[in-house]
Every structure is written in C-alpha cells, then in structure tokens.
C-alpha cells in the first residue's frame, strides 16, 4: 500500500508521447469564470490557465479564502455564477452532495491525453475532477536557531513542544511556535490533523453519528493546548497567511503549515536571512503513534453542472491545459508537489511524500464531514482559552453537530 502511494504520488512518467489530436489551449468560444482559494501556488497556476485560455474568450478568476463558503450558493444558481471551481478533497464533497459538478469523462477523452491516470478523480466510476497538485501541512523550522540551542529536528509533537519551550526559555523568541489556530475552518483543521494523528475516527462506523468525545479527542485537544501556550497569544485570530507573515518577520522558529506555502515563503520577497534559514521537515507524529498528524490533500479542477456546455468546454480546456503543462510544473518545481506528467520533482516535495509514505490519511471525504468541521470550528475555542474542560468541549462539538446534521437530513 505504502509503495503504491509513493508510486502514485511520484509517478513522474517519462512517456511524453503526445496522443490525441485536440490541443486543450486556445478555446475560441465561451467564457471562463473560475472560483478559487487564495494562495500563491494557485496564482501561479492561474497565470498558466490564463495564458492557455488565450485572448479569444472572456477570462476571469476570483481568488477568495472564503471559497468554501461561497461555492455551494454560487454553483447552485442556474446559470451558475462560476463556470469552474478549484476544489480539494475537502471542498468537493458539499458540491457532490448537491450534484453541482458535471462528469468530465467526455472532456477528458477529448483534451486530457496528457494527464496522468492518478490525476483523474473518479467517484462511482465517473471523473468529476482533475487533480494537479498534492498538499499537506508539515513542520517548518529555522535551522540556525535549532542548531544554536542544540535542538534536534523534532519528529513528534512532544518534541516540538519541548523544543519550543526551550527556545522560549532561552529568551531568543517569546512565542516560537506558529500554527493556524484562527477560530473557524483553520482551528477545526488543526483538530482534524491531531485527532487523526491519534488514530481517531470522526464517525461511528457505517453511520453519521459523531464519535469525537473519547480518549483520542481529549489527547488531541491537550496537545493543541500545549502548542498554543508556546504560540503568539493572538493565536485565535491567526490564519495560515498570518502565521506565514509572522514567520517572514522572524518571530517563529517552528511552524506547521501547508507545503504550498513554500512558493511564498521561499521567494525573493521578505527577509532573505529568514528565508535562507528556513527548512522543511516531515510532519511530526503524536501520542506515540507512527503516522504523522496531518492530512493529505489534492487540489484539482472541476466544472459546474449549471453552466452552458460551451463555457464548460472552454473552462475545461484552459484549466486542463495548465493541469497538464509540464513546463508549468518544472519551472515552478518548488512551488508545490505537482501531480502533472513529466514533473521532475522539486526540493520541497519531501514532507508531502513522507506523509503519504508514513500512512497519513487523506482528509475524510464523508458527505457529512463539512458539518463536523463546522461544529469543530466554533466549539473548541473555550477549551483553548482555558474556560472549559476538553470533555465538555468535545461534548459540545457532538451536540452542535447532531443539531446541524439533523437539520440537514443526515441523521
């Protein structure tokens, strides 16, 4: 299984045979309007999409960190607000639940000759998305600071906490650890990582009944609590982008953020001394487990059901042109882990491959997972502030989830 995953992730196939007569780039009719998350790698990808779209068609893209909240409403309208959406294994399920994405088999057959097989996301035998990159959160550290204090690169969260405490005690930094604990999606995601790292399951098997109020949940929360004690006291207001800014300002020595952050953290902007000192490390394991406490993600393209066939085809052509461009992947090799054919691999892919090979789970793709994520995003705050016990917080999560899942018809 492990080998299979590595093989899939790193299948930088060299068979460059150009099959199929349809070149995806340069559609001549229809208009393209894409909704996407906001981070640097997506911007790099979108530049390629735009140049592939050419000048004959209307092209616009909306980057928003709130894409998850917008997507269902925007794609439910008929005709939909956007013709295409960049999705992940997390954000695709709410769209699939409502049938808002169209099967892409015809379009893939026509324009997808240059795609790897593992890029095709199939659900019930039909292709609904084309993945172009893999992502995961993992550890980042400042080499000189760890060396100076004689700290080995932490491989478990217990070591991360000890290392951060040591840096704090040395007086070099007040709050050396950074994690995206902003109340809302980010905070819930941290819990998802930590809970899966402890070997937890979010639902009772075969049902939509919640299952977080247990030993694993309590242990996960306690680790999070210890991490926040060595973080900036404003941790509840810091999302990934804010943590990256802290890093670039030289305020952090250890952080756990997305691999795709490399494209902005390792670019020519910001303090170059910090950049030269920035190192990537595998995601730590936790609680004596062997697998890293992180989740695997793919990012891909998907086309709206409620858009005209013409717009769908134009959007797919431009997007798939970028998603099969080995030039894009190899000229931005360090921006992320591309899944694109002929990608030679960059210097930053290591931690994601490591996470996959050590058995990290992909983000759970249950139809009701987004409701669980929503319940986690609001109910954990009081525990982290020290106003509530871990058991109480988790009981609140389950109760909030049950109320929402009942209203949505899952229970």
């Amino acid at each position: 299984m492990k080998k299979l995953i590595i093989a899939l992730l790193l299948s930088f196939m060299t068979s460059g045979a150009y099959a199929g007569s349809h070149s995806p780039c340069g559609p001549t009719e229809g208009s393209i309007n894409i909704l996407a998350n906001e981070f640097n790698t997506y911007r790099i990808f979108m530049d390629e999409v735009k140049s592939c779209a050419g000048s004959d068609v209307d092209f616009s893209v909306t980057h928003s960190v709130d894409h998850n909240k917008l997507q269902v409403a925007a794609l439910s309208a008929n005709p939909s607000e956007f013709s295409a959406k960049l999705v992940t294994n997390g954000s695709i399920t709410p769209l699939m639940n409502d049938g808002l994405l169209r099967p892409l088999d015809d379009l893939v057959a026509k324009y997808g000759a240059n795609l790897n097989d593992n890029q095709k996301i199939t659900i019930d035998g039909k292709i609904y998305a084309v993945a172009f990159m893999a992502n995961a959160q993992h550890l980042w550290y400042r080499e000189s600071i760890l060396n100076e204090l004689g700290i080995a690169v932490p491989s478990t969260y217990e070591e991360v906490i000890a290392a951060a405490q040591k840096i704090k005690d040395s007086g070099k930094m007040a709050n050396p650890y950074g994690g995206a604990f902003k109340s809302g999606w980010n905070l819930a995601q941290e819990f998802v990582n930590m809970y899966l790292g402890h070997g937890g399951e979010f639902f009772k098997s075969g049902s939509a009944q919640p299952n977080v109020n247990n030993e694993n949940g309590v242990a996960a929360l306690n680790v999070m609590k210890k991490l926040t004690e060595v973080s900036n006291p404003d941790f509840l207001t810091q999302d990934t982008n804010a943590v990256k800014e802290e890093w670039e300002s030289g305020n952090l020595a250890l952080m756990h953020v997305w691999n795709s952050g490399a494209s902005s953290l390792l670019d020519d902007e910001g303090d170059q001394a910090v950049r030269a000192d920035t190192r990537l490390a595998p995601s730590p394991s936790v609680g004596g487990g062997s697998m890293p406490a992180t989740t695997l993600w793919w990012d891909g393209i998907a086309i709206a059901t409620n858009t005209s066939d013409e717009n769908a085809e134009a959007s797919f052509r431009a997007l798939v042109g970028a998603a099969s461009s080995s030039e894009l992947a190899n000229s931005n090799a360090d921006a992320t882990v591309w899944l694109i054919k002929d990608y030679k691999g960059g210097n930053t892919a290591g931690p994601v491959v490591d996470a996959a090979s050590r058995g990290a789970s992909p983000y759970p793709s249950f139809p009701h997972m987004s409701l669980m994520h929503g319940a986690l995003s609001t109910e954990l705050v009081e525990f982290l502030q020290g106003n509530e016990s871990a058991e109480k917080a988790l009981a609140d999560v389950e109760a909030a989830y049950i109320a929402k899942a009942t209203e949505q018809g899952f229970l």
């Binding site: 992730l9 399920t93 695997l296 992909p362 987004s370 609001t378 109760a399 009942t406 018809g409």
Partner: protein, 342 residues
C-alpha cells in the same frame, strides 16, 4: 391630514414595506418550520492520487426526487426553535435537574450557543447605549457653544466615526490593538507585561468591542441632539440667566427636560441597532469569544458549506421577538407620554 390623503401619501412606502420586509419575514418564518429532506446515502468506489477507497456519497438523483416532492423540506414544526442550537429546552431541562447549584446551572445554560450569543448581545446593547446617549449629549452641547467659524469643521470631525464603514473602522482598530500595533504595543509597555494581548482574552475583547460600539454610535446621538438643541427656546434660558442660574442649572432644568423625548428616540434606535451587532465581530475576528444573534445567522448561512436555512430562519424570528421585547418598555412609555400630552 384627511385619511384619504394620508393613505395615498403612505401607500408607496407601505407597499415597499410589505414587499421587502413583510413578505421576507413571512417566508423566513415558513422556512424556519422546515428542515432538509432525508439525505439518501450510497456506497461508491472513489479513486484519487492517494488510492482507491470505498466511501459513501449522497445519492443525488434519489435526494433530488425527494426534493421535488417536498421542495420546502420536511415539516419540523417548532423543532428547530427548541433544538440545542436555539432555545435548547431539553438541554435546559436536563441542566435544571442535574445541576447542584444555581451557578452550575447558569454555566451550563450560558454555554449553549443561543444563550451565549444572547448574553453578549444584551451586554453589548446595555453597555453601549447609555454612554452613547451621554457622550452624544456632551459633544452636542460643546459644539453648540463653539464659534460659528469652527462649527462646520467640528461637526464633520464628530460624525466621522459614523461615516467610516463599520467593517473598515473595526479593521483599523483591530490592527492597532494587535500586539505589535500602536495601541497593543503601548498597553504592553504600560503594564510591562510582554504577553498581554487584547485579542486573546475574552473580557478584553468584549471591552474592545464595546468601546468600538460607543465610538461608532456616538455621532448618531450627537447629530440628533445637536439638531434638537437648535429648537431649545431662548426665552426661559434668558430668564434663568437673569435669575442667576449657573450653566449647569440651565442645562439641568431647561435643556434636558426639553430634549427628553429626543433621548428616548435615540435610545430606541440605539437599542435596536446594537441588538443586531455584527460587523465589529467580523472585523475584530472576535467570533471565537463574542457571538451575537446576527452572527449566528451569518454562521448558518455562510460558515457552513451548505446553508442551514431553517436554523437561520429560526434565529431571525427569535431576533425579531427579542427586539420587540426589548423595545416594549420604551414604546409603552412613549405612548403614555403621547397620551398625557393630549
């Protein structure tokens, strides 16, 4: 005004009110009585870059069929109103039976989302409104005594907080109170506590929100008081001057009684506005520690991947009822005064 003239005068406004306020409220109410149809799940084989797995997904066709039969969803009566995320009758009943002291009971109740939001909303309402009225009055009195040449500038400066969009105003303040921002860093130095953070403590966040609320709302009170001050009759003031009344006595015994109905009006509007407090919570990223009823509606409609219409509708109805209860004493009082004046 004859009734007929009044009718035609009021008709366009009334029609717009029915169309854009009345009907949406009725529709929200109907929506709040329903919950989504049962989701029909099926097992499928999914393949992605990390391998193939057997998973469940929503059977879109079957669910769609149910939706066609019942476009509003399943009828749930007042079930959504009484569930844990709203009035939480069951949870409160259980808390009453199991808690050993009134404090424990209070803790359990205030931990439920609706009551937590209610506590903040009411605290905000009652902490912001009195200072707003007081400060607005002081600012209006002060500006009224300024030389004519300075008045325009002073009025413009004083209503600036109201002109600034709430979200922008709160974001600016949010950055200033950051532990590295100008206010946050100064406070850290003043209290010589390097770990002090306005954003991390619930109490300090509440205080920040309340101060922001006062800053943002004072101009409204000021402008209404200032307009009313222009109508204060000069004769009694001159008479009082001759009698040797001090400035304080003139304000206390002539100006304040004259402005009393205006103060009631400002209080009414302020309570209503502050009950719907929302933007500062987003601007200050304070949703972790301070939730209001409006924020709960936003949460149901925006922060979930799928909109919880029933839940949002129920919270909207409860908000309307809340405002009605809050305003009843003030309205009753105004009505009584109105009758005695006749």
């Amino acid at each position: 005004m004859p009734h007929k003239t009044f009718f035609w005068f009021f008709f366009p406004t009334g029609l717009a009110m029915i169309l854009f306020i009345g009907l949406p409220i009725v529709s929200s109410f109907f929506q709040s009585l329903h919950i989504e149809n049962q989701q029909i799940l099926m097992e499928v084989e999914n393949c992605d870059p990390f391998g193939c797995t057997t998973n469940v997904r929503v059977d879109v066709e079957a669910t769609e069929k149910l939706k066609e039969q019942n476009p509003l969803g399943r009828f749930n009566g007042f079930g959504t109103y009484t569930d844990r995320n709203h009035l939480a009758f069951d949870e409160i009943g259980e808390a009453w039976n199991t808690s050993s002291s009134i404090n424990e009971f209070k803790d359990i109740v205030l931990n439920l989302p609706f009551y937590k939001a209610m506590l903040f909303t009411l605290t905000f309402c009652f902490a912001v409104t009195p200072p707003v009225i007081f400060l607005g009055f002081i600012v209006a009195l002060s500006i009224n005594t300024l030389a004519k040449s300075l008045k325009g500038l002073a009025i413009f400066g004083s209503i600036l907080p109201m002109i600034v969009t709430p979200l922008i105003g709160s974001l600016v303040l949010f950055w200033m109170i950051d532990s590295q921002g100008i206010i946050g860093a100064t406070i850290k130095i003043l209290f010589s506590d390097p770990n002090l953070s306005l954003k991390s403590s619930s109490t300090l966040t509440w205080i920040t929100l309340i101060i922001y609320g006062i800053w943002h709302n004072t101009p409204f009170a000021f402008i209404v008081f200032y307009a009313a001050l222009q109508t204060v009759p000069q004769d009694p003031i001159e008479a009082a001057l001759i009698d040797g009344a001090s400035r304080f006595q003139r304000v206390r015994y002539i100006v304040i009684p004259h402005l009393y109905p205006v103060a009631t009006f400002i209080m009414l509007i302020c309570l209503m506005d502050n009950f719907r407090v929302f933007e500062p919570i987003i601007g200050f990223s304070a949703e972790g520690v301070a939730q209001s009823l409006s924020w709960m509606i936003y949460q149901d409609l925006r922060n979930e991947n799928k909109m919880l219409f029933g839940s949002a509708g129920a919270t909207s109805m409860l908000t309307i009822i809340g405002i009605a209860i809050l305003l009843t004493p003030v309205l009753l009082r105004t009505w009584r005064e109105f009758r005695t004046e006749r």
